[in-house]
């Protein structure tokens, strides 16, 4: 049976959102590519929608930026009218509305995460097509293909803030190791009742995985530290 469903395009990026007891941790890589060229090696893919709700962007940079700009604009007005911070659910639904109504033109997968006083920390995945799905954790972007098995094994309910953040950093770092469209630094954003914390993990501070080597300034440093014997090439 020929199921010619035209499998979805791969999207440059690795994005992650994880809930923990008390809030959420959002994480992303920082590579923006145009074809094979890395246009920006330090992008910020975790974008603010309101004080308490952020969105991780993947896919087309232009599409994801315009969607988050519109949603920020609408949420700003909504917050004024409501008289209190917008909930994560409302923010996610606005993103869904734009993604769904423009599904033929947009190519962006988004993860909305935040904290509100009614439901606490929540993560909503909004993939291509505009489906909205609330999840305890969500992964997206081309790098996420390498993380399904990892999360199946490593995810557990009721983690602490530090455990959750370490999981996110480890996961993005693993995806960067294997996905050519992901790279650079790992950025995380932690959102809870106390507020928002941004963290930055530069590429050279991430753990090394299989077949990756300790970086050096120069071969000369390596040669000088070992005993002076002739090079065997």
């Amino acid at each position: 049976m020929d199921l010619d469903l035209s499998a979805p395009h791969s999207m440059g990026t690795t994005i992650i959102g994880v809930t923990y007891n008390g809030g959420v941790v959002l994480g992303a890589d920082s590579r923006t590519s145009t074809g094979v060229y890395v246009a920006n090696r330090a992008s910020d893919k975790i974008t603010q929608l309101t004080d308490n709700v952020y969105v991780c962007r993947s896919g087309s940079a232009a599409d994801s930026q315009i969607v988050s700009d519109y949603v920020r604009y609408f949420l700003h007005q909504h917050t004024i009218q409501l008289g209190q911070p917008a909930t994560v659910k409302v923010s996610a639904n606005l993103v869904r509305l734009l993604s769904y109504s423009n599904k033929n033109m947009l190519q962006t997968g988004l993860i909305v995460g935040g904290w509100d006083k009614y439901e606490g920390g929540k993560i909503y995945g909004i993939p291509l097509g505009g489906t909205i799905i609330e999840q305890p954790f969500a992964i997206g972007g081309s790098g996420s293909s390498y993380l399904y098995g990892f999360f199946d094994q490593a995810w557990k309910e009721g983690m602490t803030k530090d455990e959750a953040e370490q999981l996110v950093v480890k996961a993005v770092s693993l995806a960067i190791a294997r996905d050519g469209a992901s790279g650079g630094v790992v950025r995380t954003v932690i959102i809870n009742s106390e507020g928002v914390t941004r963290n930055f993990y530069p590429g050279d501070k991430l753990p090394l995985w299989h077949e990756e080597l300790e970086p050096h300034n120069s071969l000369l440093d390596i040669l000088n530290t070992s005993s002076p014997e002739p090079m065997n090439i």
């Binding site: 010619d4 599904k103 097509g129």
Partner: protein, 244 residues
């Protein structure tokens, strides 16, 4: 039956941006199977949301109550199903606002869905779903189906997607009038187990819903046991190395 195979349309219109047309689904649900039994309707669906060949989402609820008398199960694009649920919310709300003691039964909901699906099809912008609508009102049991091209019909047992090929033969053989709840569930589970063995997009986490005059009950998610103990499975290529 399922038009997932008729995926890409060749564009006859110049730019795809000015005409809205759904080209292909992204996050999809697989089969829904349903049958009439003594007290009402039983419906089953797994909780998978596939993204191409990846089994991406494993807790998608594809069976939902509609008003007081109906149960809707959907396969196909999940975002379109979510939008249909919103249309139905509005439909039921307006129905309640009449406050006339009457409420839409399954026949009315099925008719509404048929109109919506067919009209979208005529605009070359389908809602990419196959819907199963079941319910009971005033003792009358009703079970119907609508596809993404607007084909609709009623029957004693229905299935979408792969279920058409695998479940319906089983239902044709074993269904009879006045099935008990237990027998109905067992028959549905037999269908769902076959689908689990043979449908690549099926996952082992499903829900069975029942609707009777009293109302809707949707079971909590559960998994089925599978059988692998055939001796032929253990060493299938002995005596014929290289075969499968």
């Amino acid at each position: 039956m399922d038009s997932n195979q008729a995926a890409k349309q060749h564009s006859l219109v110049g730019s795809e941006a000015d005409s809205q047309r759904t080209l292909y689904p992204y996050v999809t649900g697989t089969s829904v199977v349903a049958l009439k039994y003594k007290d009402g309707i039983l419906m089953a669906a797994d909780m998978g949301g596939s993204y191409g060949s990846t089994l991406r989402y494993k807790s998608v609820e594809r069976l939902k109550a509609v008003g007081k008398h109906s149960l809707l199960g959907a396969s196909g694009e999940i975002s379109d199903f979510q939008e249909i649920l919103r249309y139905l919310d509005e439909l039921i709300l307006y129905d309640n606002m009449w406050d006339d003691g009457n409420s839409f039964g399954p026949k009315e909901v099925h008719s509404y869905l048929t109109r919506v699906m067919y009209n979208r099809r005529n605009k070359f912008d389908p809602l990419w779903n196959s819907l199963v609508l079941g319910g009971v009102k005033n003792g009358q049991k009703y079970l119907g189906m609508v596809s993404m091209i607007g084909v609709n019909f009623e029957d004693n047992h229905v299935a979408t997607g792969f279920g058409n090929h695998l479940a319906r033969p089983l239902l044709r053989d074993e269904w009879h009038e006045n099935l008990s709840f237990e027998d109905g569930v067992k028959l549905l589970e037999k269908c769902m187990r076959v689908l689990l063995y043979r449908d690549r997009s099926a996952i082992n986490k499903l829900q069975i819903a029942k609707i009777t005059e009293e109302g809707v009950t949707i079971s909590p998610p559960y998994a089925l046991k599978t059988f692998w103990g055939f001796s032929a499975f253990e060493n299938p290529t002995v005596g014929a190395e290289g075969s499968w």
